[in-house]
Symmetry: D2
């Protein structure tokens, strides 16, 4: 695993794009998280200088109603036991995908019944392959590099609205990377701050109620060039403050497949960890203030056998 | 905050023991987690040498039925949206206190209606004070030192059963600390491995069904000496592989108050973070193997406004 | 209560229409269900001739996804206890309003913060007034008369589509009543079969998924004439096979208020029990077959203190 | 089906007692509810004289904590949609078996994997046989006869404590039947008022908390004579105000099988509908007052495909 092939050297995938299936063995359920080796984790931990912590999860209930209409918001009950000096609590209707989250490799496939590394729908449904517990047992930690799209766009003199469906292509990613002043390395985590999260946090309840019916957000462009760029960085993960990492709405036109909904490629073919609805604004402000865009990121996914997603449970330490 | 008073210098608490209320200000909701300063976090991160990660959460469903009979076990549903290439999931009946967890400072008080730093039941119930979100916003990370009780007892030639109610007093804690070969520092996390967790994991279903009706476990002795010892270490947290950190059953005799149920002191007066039902066996085995008992521990508590507890979401990195 | 005033004799309501508040006393929480007196129940029971039962609740899960997007569908888990010869079960995410249901008088007000008989939002939220337990304690039973709109329209030679927003006005109600060949009496239950329920039951999953985004259905016309007609019948309840009893979508234009959304009048001013999404097709077929349109209806609302709605739990016996 | 065999004429069951399997055909999932024919329903409706209704469900939350420790209590959330004039609500953790309920024929078997009429555990788990929806589609109604054990015992000059494990044998059932002054007929519902329900309702919270750990209650004696008596009455159902209908605790001694836990016989072999934790006190008081012990009972079980139990949803009308 010392050297991963470049995108152009990957074999063609049957429905378009290229395939990374089998690269980590036929039974692999980790995907690119495999690249988070002890050596890289140790190197990333050495990035901690001040010890300042930036928790990256939006508070529970902070995104409500759920942006995807088939999901819900959690309910919380505090329970007092008679005669005791204390409290317990209990949650219902907890949809990990409705808040700050990781998508497991079972969340979206390359195509129906074709999940990362050849897993089937039945494999996912029964929790045999690709589910979140594989990452939970392995651990997720590494070097994170923040890409601050709003600041990069401003520096480049370009208009930018964090709630508009701006496609972030290779050029825009490079602008932000240059602002960060660093290169990516294998096993890194890209933190893609689009400004959507901070925008959403400032919206009134009425707009939030209507938003699920007309969703749009900036995000990765629906192009093969973006897929190639991301693969060739060999990052393990991309986490964003939007709900889909990629620009929304997707292109459902069959001609755009599989890039029209990049999840098909990034999760289904690359085995990349996608993080969504993360809170990146405080970290972004800190990066702008001290001009240090890298940090040690630690996430502890929920150890849920058969789980499709997990709260992000992530913190960046600088 | 450079110098915390010793236990003997704390004022007497009205119902027995000594009180740390007010030490971090009248409005503090962090307790001893306050000691997890950036400087200490940075120093702890420097302990990472190999980059090996030890996730510390028992898998969901791994402790069932709930050991406390008033709690429950979570239910998990995998959801497939018609026409999609993917899955979502949803959880119900999630009791953080039934699995690997943190107790917030709202979980147990010094006495009914007397929670850490003077918070009332109403303050907890309405989520105004002491709830888990305070730690989630601050972050939890630091130097962890593992105390391996079974190995320390074995080395000392003492009998020890991980399911029996063995009281771990100052002498036993010292035995384990000496085995670890290190001292504690302010802001550290004590990981108290009693062997209960590994024992439980090996039990058949029938025994697990009966266990809630006759609970016992080793843990901290119900003595003021233990409280004094722990306070004087100025550790921020103690996490154990048992369900209560302290020996079980508690002593409900009023004469034993508040030490008969040490939660009253540790949480209610000291503001100490207690972690329960953590999975410490893999880490303990690693410590025994390489004779390195310290690690960098990172936990990301659930950012739940008003939450009483949280999954541990913890990982030790060596 | 021997004689209720006619609509024209009711006092004007402040935001339009007329008000029945206070008619059953200032503290009444039953509304027109008050008219279901023992004498009328006994008379209705005498309608039972053959003893054939027509359960009127759609099966759980029969309406999915929920037609109103803010609601959800229930989850069911079957639980087997180790070593037992049996099963238990448990339900989560049960939204009474998403299936065959009664709306309590706390479900919709005449206006925000103005619920039936002067109850406030706080009264409803805290379960002090108008909630479903009042009807549960009183009981719901009486003479039901089925109005079969599709058959009445067909007999009149009029086009009719059960999924189209056909306004059912006084003329159409009278057509159906004449088909039934009976008059209404005080305390009766009108069963308004629009054909929507049977149409929905025959739709494929894909259409059901899209339906919540473009809801329409036949139902009561948004006119004062309909309100007057219904009041003057002095029926206690109207239950329909649609999700709203009234034609959908409502008229949100302030000029149409309060008739544009008849719930404001029927529930908020009249205190009438509205039943929705009932399964009326089998009963309707039986009525057409034996030309007997009246039956003894018994419903047992959920005895839920503070409940906003209830499963219909209804059966018609002929 | 005009004539059912007597108990002595039933074939022997393989593990003791006698078997009614196959009596209503090999594919029957209704059991003795089959006897609730239209003719009997019509005859029972004719018992309605005054029209007074006696709802028979304890309010939600009225039995808490759950008497069986593996069950839970429901949680209720009231939901207000922004900008609306109304409320919805939603329930979680709803265990039908924890409150006023019907046991379906899938609840308890004659033996593990041997359910009524030969159904297997897999048949129940997958909802193929014996589940509550069969009764929901058929309907449950008929003549109810109340047996008032406390009053019958008092009249006979016998001591009786409604919380003690008094075995109610044939003699005691006959005492109560004679007090009622009527005979049972095929398809009837026996309402067995033991006084436990009224006793429980009067207990303080502390006692209720402890009760699940030392359960006892009066109920049917664990004898074959009782099984024979009940079968020979050919009643369809027995509903009681206790949690088990039969005396508690059961006799787990293999020598007492299958009568030591009468559920094995009544549900598993006879296919009898058992109702538990019903509220019978108001009806019992009315019977004592007017000396009329029969009524028309209507229950509308939840139409839940694959459901193991259902709220009672029952009302007696006199």
């Amino acid at each position: 695993m010392t050297e991963l092939p470049s995108y152009q050297d990957l074999p063609a995938a049957p429905r378009g794009g290229r395939s990374a299936w089998g690269l980590f063995g036929p039974n692999d359920n980790l995907g690119l998280v495999t690249l988070m080796t002890p050596e890289r984790v140790a190197a990333a931990a050495a990035l901690v200088r001040t010890g300042r912590m930036y928790p990256l999860d939006v508070e529970l209930g902070g995104i409500a109603p759920a942006l995807a209409r088939n999901r819900g918001t959690s309910r919380h009950a505090v329970v007092h036991q008679a005669g005791s000096a204390g409290f317990d609590d209990v949650y219902d209707n907890v949809w990990p995908q409705a808040g700050s989250q990781w998508d497991s490799l079972g969340h979206v496939g390359y195509a129906p019944d074709e999940f990362f590394n050849g897993a089937t729908e039945a494999d996912i449904w029964t929790g045999v392959r690709n589910t979140i517990d594989h990452w939970a047992r392995h651990g997720i930690a590494g070097r994170a590099v923040l890409l601050d799209i709003p600041r990069a766009m401003a520096k480049a003199g370009r208009d930018y609205e964090p709630e508009a469906p701006t496609a972030i292509g290779v050029a825009e990613l490079e602008l932000a990377r240059q602002l960060a002043g660093v290169d990516f390395g294998a096993g890194d985590i890209m933190l893609l701050n689009t400004g959507f999260g901070a925008w959403y946090a400032a919206q009134p309840a009425g707009l939030r109620e209507r938003l699920p019916h007309r969703l749009s957000a900036p995000g990765l462009a629906h192009t093969e060039a973006v897929a190639e760029y991301l693969w060739d960085l060999h990052v393990s993960a991309i986490a964003s403050d939007t709900f889909a990492v990629e620009v929304w709405p997707p292109e459902r036109d069959p001609a755009a497949y599989p890039f029209g909904f990049l999840h098909h490629m990034l999760i289904g073919q690359f085995g990349m960890a996608l993080g969504e609805l993360w809170w990146l604004q405080d970290l972004a402000d800190s990066c702008a203030a001290d001009d240090v865009y890298e940090s040690f990121l630690v996430s502890v996914p929920m150890n849920a056998p058969g789980g499709i997603g997990s709260p992000a449970n992530a913190v960046a330490i600088k």
